[in-house]
Symmetry: C2
Subunit: 253 residues, 2 copies
Amino acid sequence: MSQVKTVTAAMIIIGDEILSGRTKDANLNHLALWLNRMGVQLLEVRVIPDVAQVIQNTVNELRGGFDYVFTTGGIGPTHDDITAENVAAAFDVPFVQSEEAVRLLHQHYGTDNISEARLRMTMIPEGATLIKNPVSTAPGFQMGNVFVLAGIPVVMQSMLLDLEHRIFGGDKMVSKAIHVFEGESTFATILREVEAAYPDVALGSYPFYRHKRFGASFVLRSQVEKSLDQALEMLKGKIAETGKECFDGEAEL
Amino acid sequence: MSQVKTVTAAMIIIGDEILSGRTKDANLNHLALWLNRMGVQLLEVRVIPDVAQVIQNTVNELRGGFDYVFTTGGIGPTHDDITAENVAAAFDVPFVQSEEAVRLLHQHYGTDNISEARLRMTMIPEGATLIKNPVSTAPGFQMGNVFVLAGIPVVMQSMLLDLEHRIFGGDKMVSKAIHVFEGESTFATILREVEAAYPDVALGSYPFYRHKRFGASFVLRSQVEKSLDQALEMLKGKIAETGKECFDGEAEL
């Protein structure tokens, strides 16, 4: 167990529109699944408003506590796009124009069509490196361990392509699930026994209500696949002893 | 403006399954819209894992900073449902059995069908009051300004019905939106002018990509409806001056 390497991340979703309910966030789930594939565990998400001091404080609190921090939202051309300048402030570095970003915008829009508003999108913290945006050109950036991404899901997702070689994951969290069509409380003692027997396996019980039936999914997660398989066998055996049926599920994470 | 009464809230989504990407949260958006109707502004959301100390720290940090705090998830009958005991720990009060909750479960399941696991769901912090669960009986609870709700959306939503008379909102945030089928950067200067002219109106610009067209929604929000209407007129006037068209939207929040 001491050989297991764990790499962690936090996410900051920046945007009044999520908090007001106007927009449903679609980036959390995508980032969570992408990070799993990269061998990184997402351990905290915060949704915060477009308020300068809140952005600075949150970035500074989380970048010290996690290996990687990802922000989404607030990097467009308008007055309410204040993420970039506040990441610069959080790192206490100047907010400067990226010549490379200017070149990219010129290439995309032509040299005559770069309004002052669009030039806002070429400003980054000094020392940051750009993150490519294959969808709409205006780049994100990486500053230290903080990755600043767009809020529009299609753009955010395309930016992750440029990060696959910048993120260094640990041992992947592997996950297996089984399901029962019974209230989870029936199996509470069994679940507790399995979790106690395998300290390196996390066992979650998730009740559901589907097709007018209550049931539960038992999800086992571990960075040690051998333990995961043994714990799953133990769980299946103990469920069989109760005379109840269980069903293999997809290996949902 | 000094007459405006603002009431604030934070939300804590407790669950490894959201952070791992296994489950998509469906409660944030519902709570945000419900709070709007109650005259309460949701100003921060945190998604955290099922870890005792993290739950305690997060509850304590947020209950001091906001008028109301809502948690979802982790109040079922199994070993990984640790929200209730950690809210008790956060308030530094004993974790006790609620006779009222026991009575409700007896009524629902019959006196012979109350397993030890189900009895876990009758434990609450000393001094807490129950929140009714019309869907599956096991109650949530209110402790101080913290409201502890179920994670299953249909149950969580039903619990809010019991809170309508316990939440005291301020002046409602009113919202109006218009849309353009142009890149938002075209209007960046106009938006800045409108926001500067009406300090009590928040103006957000949200780019979208729909039906293969880029566009933007401009959303004005204020607790002072008169200012909102004036700001909207100013914005429409300035957009008309550019020769571009704009479209009235739904009054999305």
